[in-house]
Subunit: 554 residues, 2 copies
């Protein structure tokens, strides 16, 4: 068959499936490329759906259109891409060289030389989740209209969102910002975005949510969801949260039934196992997108990372493989980004907690820095947590939050983490510097320096410990502390510039040093340690303290 | 001496010198660290000076201050850093273990165990450049006030800027934007930013300059500069440009006299030669910052890259080396960024022209893409040129221009280019994706795909060729072409969606296919080629054409 025309059948008109189909048809115009999907609305930007709900995008067709305004329907793929999409067909069974599909009128069989599974994922459900219009998922295009309509008609004015993951946080903003709905965001973990953020960064996200009017319930396990004629009651601990509608956003799980029935191997995550050519355990059967697991760049282990950008890249890679390329799909570091009201949040790699869970000796450095030159009028603070392995000094993960340029730091860190970089590599990053775009030393490099200093004994406080529990030395200037004092009693104020000559005023204490962003307090802590004091400093400084404690102010 | 207290003398209170001094004093508090400089105003953000001139920064002290508002003067370094700065002292001669310096009252000698040369750079001068208040450089803090004062007092209302490099472009904006001065920007090369941009990207910068009222003279060699009582006359070709003042911004040259007099080796670029530990050819003498050359990550050869971020990193690295670390300073890819009015410009590595000059078989891919998801309301176009080596497919350089997120793409590309990445590596980059921050496939990856396609025979037009010279096939929709037709006669319009069935209408021609951003025209060119036509397409599309031809509209 090599060199001859092949027949490729793709199950799932998802990002991965369609990307694969279009690319393959481009590379091999003579091949038969057919895509089977049970849906009729089938090619849209799923990541854009929260912004249809919020009204940022005025029309629900916007996420279905190309950049030049053509809706990506069955006709589009035929006319523009030469790809045959068979909508409304459900794939039933994989047999040797044949896929059985059914539609309303019966079943048929499609012959294939190569079969691609791009069956995607589906939303996870709560154990107690009732089937009701008042308890919804938010996953496919059709999920938007009922909620959007209810908001527009004034029937929905209060919402309980279960799960403060990426989608849950986007939904909280979507419901609250334009529509002004009363939003309760319920999360079982002790922080929002628990899978991608450690507490010190998550605290800034929590503060952003709360200062924008979202009621955030953390450590809150949902017991039951009870629907009533007028709304829904969500049992959380001893309480019951009432809302017009509940949206369950507790993540997704891979849709693997078709593969499992055919005896194709699933991996430890429950998703379809594929090699780095995206081949499954069954000859001639391949898989890509949200139904597969990939290899994690940090752990080297299988990981389930259902991300839109990944699905697109896998679809393209698989087309190349099917067309005969030697290409391999690389390991994935898990870069993610999310806008939560006025803060941009991004992360890559492992959190400190995740790294420790898999047995790594992980430690963090934790900084605040300006995202541009500090004197640039639009400079804004960025809070970064850098997770590294003690001993090897390998960078395991980076998390960032701030109003400005946070995502680019994660994009840069991703390239380094994918390549096994150490603190020294991160400290040596080269970046395109001009005052409007970055400081002369990039915040990522600064985080690496702080981590290296920490390994040499200049100790940052534990991000999780409460600064109010310490005796505090505030080394800012008088004009800085005047209107912004540290929120606790027993604070000594000695500006850094006077500290050397006033060391004799400090004695017998274990100090927590604070300043605006961290560098001065680190310098002071180093000076104190050198003179026999016990001292640590607040890594993110007062800037972090303010950003992480806005709760209740909105 | 190992382990004992050492005496370190640093010549030059520049970014490199002071960064080195402060870091070293932190690592080795018992050492003597002295910095000698002939200036009195000595620690400021030189890259911020254009923004003092423009008025973006309200006070000329802003670039001298720390983020918490303390001016970095001699007292600051003593009190905050424990570093002794000896201002107003000129270094005269290096002898074995001794540096001779002079001030107004005479000469003295400073003993050193380690000597660091951080003597920086000085502005290059035109051969014909007179010494006059009306012909100025723009390099040090003191250069700002006379120009700023002249503008504020209305004595300067027209300026001739000689050199459209990074500083020249910043100056053009600074003079024109707030002050409304009449600016003529004179560049000997055929485009602005010739050292970092190829013509297709530089054209967008030229258009930005011109649409903001800057008179741009390209290919314009300055013959003479003649001062008069009321102004200055700049002879360019047969013309004479009159202005109240001329600013010469034709780059800098390393200040190496002290080193050269001592017999320290200079490299082929004329800057001080150092190894990857920043050691000069003379034992115990080290150098960092704008006076040294570094190793270029792409060519492997010595390069002179006087960049502020680099100087900071070298200063820090050298402190670590002097304190006993095994650290080495890595090769440099030459990442730069500059804001030119409403466009953000950034580049890294070699331009196509520079690569060909050093004998590499360089080719470019050239694209337009949205910087966020295309449906995101704030999406804006980014124009990227990707330079690669034919055969090896190694990425040699990337240039980007656009109103939005251009710089982060260069920061990411820098990490890859530093590590010898190929087109395949760039196509596989992982990035943090959410609709407000990036498309699902990042523009960098798209550029790599386009380059790979090009190597497989889907040909983009030469960026430098004039689209008006071809027979054009416009494959956009009727609603797109209606109010925005291709600026030339003989254009056929067939929307891509109808092209397969209307191929028979096209014959016997060599086509240049155009669309809005490139992807559709690439698809169409592929289709045409497959059916025996000769076809290439306009890489950057109509978007690029508009962005690069705004001249005269302002």
């Amino acid at each position: 068959m090599v060199g001859g025309a092949r027949s490729v059948v793709i199950v799932g008109a998802s990002a991965a499936g369609l990307r694969c189909a279009c690319r393959l048809k481009r590379l091999k115009p003579g091949w038969s490329v057919r895509v089977v999907d049970q849906r009729q609305v089938l090619s849209y930007a799923a990541c854009g759906l929260p912004y249809v709900l919020s009204g940022d995008l005025p029309d629900d067709q916007d996420v279905r259109k190309t950049s030049y305004g053509v809706v990506r329907d069955v006709e589009y793929f035929a006319r523009y891409k030469g790809v045959e999409v068979l909508g409304g067909r459900r794939a039933i069974e994989i047999r040797d060289g044949v896929l059985e599909v059914e539609d309303d009128s019966g079943t048929e069989t499609l012959e294939w030389d190569d079969l691609v599974l791009a069956t995607g994922a589906r939303p996870r459900r709560l154990p107690s989740q009732p089937d009701s219009e008042r308890v919804r998922s938010f996953h496919v295009w059709e999920d938007v209209a009922p909620l959007h309509g209810g908001l527009a008609r004034g029937e929905i004015s209060s919402v309980a969102v279960v799960g403060a993951g990426l989608v849950g946080c986007e939904l909280a903003e979507a419901f609250a910002s334009l529509w002004g709905a009363e939003v309760t965001l319920i999360e079982a973990a002790d922080r929002p975005l628990p899978q991608v953020l450690d507490p010190e960064v998550a605290a800034c996200v929590a503060a952003s949510l709360e200062s924008n009017g979202v009621r955030l319930l953390l450590g809150a396990e949902v017991g039951s969801l009870r629907t009533e004629t007028t709304g829904v009651k969500v049992a959380v601990g001893g309480d019951e949260i009432g809302a017009d509608v509940a949206v369950v956003a507790i993540g997704v799980e891979p849709a693997v039934e078709l593969a499992a029935r055919a005896g194709i191997n699933l991996g430890p995550t429950g998703a379809i196992a594929v090699d780095d050519r995206l081949a499954t355990s069954m000859p001639g059967v391949w898989a890509a997108g949200d139904c597969v697991e990939c290899r994690h760049a940090v752990t080297g282990e299988p990981a389930y990372l259902p991300l839109g950008s990944l699905a697109n890249r896998q679809g393209r890679c698989l087309a190349n493989v099917l067309a005969g390329s030697e290409e391999r799909f690389p390991a994935v570091a898990g870069a993610v980004a999310v806008k939560v009201f006025d803060v941009n949040v991004a992360a890559v790699g492992l959190t400190r907690s995740a790294a420790r869970q898999v047995g790594m000796a992980a430690r963090s450095a934790w900084i605040t820095a300006e995202d541009t030159a500090h004197y640039w009028p639009e400079a804004s603070d960025i809070h970064i947590s850098l997770v590294y392995e003690v001993g090897t000094e390998r960078v395991l993960g980076v998390q960032a939050v701030g109003a400005g340029e946070t995502v680019k730091r994660i994009d840069v860190a991703t390239q380094l983490i994918s390549r096994g970089a150490t603190l020294s590599d991160l400290g040596n990053i080269e970046h395109a510097y001009a005052p409007p775009f970055a400081p002369a030393l990039d915040p990522l490099a600064v985080a690496a320096f702080v981590a290296a200093n920490q390994e040499e004994g200049v100790t940052g406080s534990q991000p999780t410990s409460d600064p109010a529990d310490h005796v505090v030395l505030d080394v800012r200037l008088a004009e800085e502390t005047e209107h912004d004092s540290f929120p606790a009693g027993g604070v000594r104020a000695v500006p850094l510039g006077a500290l050397r000559e006033r060391l004799n005023e400090l004695n017998g204490k274990r100090w927590l040093v604070v300043c605006e962003r961290g560098p001065r307090s680190a310098e002071a802590a180093r000076l104190l340690s050198r003179h026999g004091f016990e001292a640590e400093y607040l890594g993110g400084g007062m800037s972090w303290l303010r950003a992480s404690r806005r709760r209740g102010s909105g």
